[in-house]
């Protein structure tokens, strides 16, 4: 279980996280929703140790993430970045097998390539993509490669940062389905941040809404549409009027 208790983070005078409390149960898919600039990405980066919180504690299976052995801790995670974050200088298969070509999970090159091609196939990409460079692929294909890289080492926990941003509705639907299938199939704990409501409905078991630096609402996805929380209601219906200030 991932547990966040009173996590705070500021950048100069910008108080992004003002005391986040959240529990993500093992094997569940939690989606964090919230407007742009509300600190969703910062929250994920705090859990991964990419950003150090100013206050509060983050534990994974009751162990403080800041005190955990970094390699062992990170080996449990996979992450799909918003822009896929593929390494330009490496071929697609080398991106997917990055973790399998070095470090504690190192495998022979041929085996790593075979696993990479299998993962590419799992996300709907043909083996001939393996020897291309990321710049030769479309945005949707890059997202799929990023997804294949996130699951290559079969991590226990997978983070998805805005998985459908910048994609057309059909490709977004494909990515959503893939994420749901993979998370269910691997039995992984998933945490997704998005403001795309179709992603929320396709991926989530539970939903948490981050607003004004705190978790404003949290509950099962089935209760999202019937929630009487004014923030949630305004957000999911995309209304300009409501407690969330809309800048025009």
């Amino acid at each position: 279980m991932i547990a966040l208790t009173q996590v705070k983070k500021s950048f100069d005078t910008n108080h992004v996280l003002r005391g986040v409390d959240l529990r993500v149960e093992t094997g569940t898919s939690t989606v964090i929703i919230g407007g742009s600039g509300t600190g969703k990405s910062v929250l994920l980066k705090c859990i991964l140790g990419l950003v150090t919180p100013d206050a509060g504690t983050i534990t994974l299976d009751d162990q403080d993430v800041l005190r955990a052995d970094r390699d062992t801790f990170l080996a449990r995670f996979g992450m799909l970045f918003q822009g896929a974050a593929l390494f330009d200088s490496l071929k697609v298969w080398e991106n997917v097998a990055f973790r399998l070509l070095r470090g504690s999970l190192k495998r022979p090159k041929a085996e790593a390539r075979e696993i990479a091609i299998e993962k590419l196939r799992r996300v709907g990409l043909k083996p001939d993509v393996a020897d291309k460079f990321p710049a030769e692929l479309s945005g949707g294909m890059q997202k799929r490669v990023g997804l294949a890289r996130a699951i290559a080492a079969e991590p226990e926990i997978i983070f998805f940062d805005e998985p459908t941003t910048g994609l057309d509705p059909i490709m977004a639907g494909v990515i959503n389905e893939l994420i749901r299938e993979i998370v269910t199939e691997m039995g992984a704990t998933a945490m997704t941040i998005t403001h795309d409501m179709s992603s929320v409905r396709a991926i989530a078991d539970r939903v948490a809404m981050l607003h004004d630096g705190v978790i404003q609402w949290e509950g099962p996805v089935a209760q999202l549409d019937t929630s009487d929380d004014p923030y949630v209601s305004q957000f999911i219906h995309g209304r300009a009027d409501g407690p969330i200030e809309a800048v025009r």
Partner: protein, 260 residues
């Protein structure tokens, strides 16, 4: 502006400079400490050797060739004022090996390699590739900085050696083809005049300048701000810092080696 405000502004500037020096020093020490600690990334090191060394040969060679030729012309013209035209081989040799070879190669590396490293790493930073490296259990310092710094440390002295030879050849070509020097005498005078320590000092300077050039590229790349403007600033800052530090280090090293 009141004297107090002026002093405050001066104080802030000094503190900012000192903080910058401190950050660069800590980054350099961190990089050096990672050089001797595993894991080592052989492929990245090999790639850095190729890009810093082999691919810099044309620009280094051409720069040294033209500089050596121009130096021969200048020394001949200047020497003629007091009937000392014959010193061309000796001055070209000492000028290229002790000063112009290392400095020009260092500056060319700063222009070609530092800018490229800074732009590449800064772009990786703004596109979250550095964060991705961390989540893939790979230390950016080991994967990005160490291979480049180590490669520059090893390969720039070699480039300096090549630059010295080509520079001397440039002087030789001009002197023998246009200034009427005897080829055999020119080469003998060059070889007789140079001392082993001239060459050693040249190579040491090359190693120092290579280290500075690669380190500045990595440092500014890693500290890049957001967006295209951040990448541009990082690239510009890295080249400026590398060029100034190379010239400052050259002054210090020349003082240490030859002031006695």
């Amino acid at each position: 502006m009141s004297p107090a405000a002026l002093l405050a502004a001066l104080g802030r500037t000094v503190l900012s400079i000192l903080a910058g020096i401190g950050r660069v020093t800590l980054y350099a020490l961190d990089a050096l400490s990672h050089i001797v600690r595993p894991p080592f990334y052989g492929r990245e090191f090999g790639h850095a050797l190729l890009t810093v060394g082999w691919l810099s040969l044309p620009v280094v060679g051409l720069t040294a060739l033209f500089t050596g030729g121009a130096l021969a012309l200048q020394i001949y013209a200047g020497g003629a004022r007091f009937n000392a035209e014959a010193v061309v081989p000796q001055i070209v040799a000492i000028g290229m090996v002790r000063e112009l070879g290392p400095v020009l190669v260092g500056l060319m590396i700063a222009a070609r390699v530092t800018s490229s490293i800074a732009a590449e790493i800064a772009t990786m930073k703004v596109t979250e590739q550095i964060d991705a490296l961390v989540t893939l259990s790979t230390h950016p310092m080991k994967y990005l900085t160490v291979p480049r710094v180590l490669a520059a440390l090893i390969v720039v002295p070699m480039l300096v050696a090549v630059g010295d030879v080509i520079g001397i050849f440039g002087g030789y070509a001009v002197a023998t083809q246009t200034l009427g020097f005897n080829p055999a005498t020119y080469l003998k005078n060059t070889a007789d005049f140079l001392e082993p320590f001239d060459i050693i000092s040249s190579l040491i300077k090359g190693a120092a300048f290579g280290f500075i050039a690669a380190l500045m590229g990595c440092y500014f790349g890693m500290r890049s701000g957001r967006g295209a403007q951040g990448v541009g600033r990082a690239t510009k800052g890295s080249v400026q810092a590398a060029a100034i530090l190379i010239l400052a280090a050259n002054f210090v090293l020349t003082g240490v080696f030859f002031s006695a």
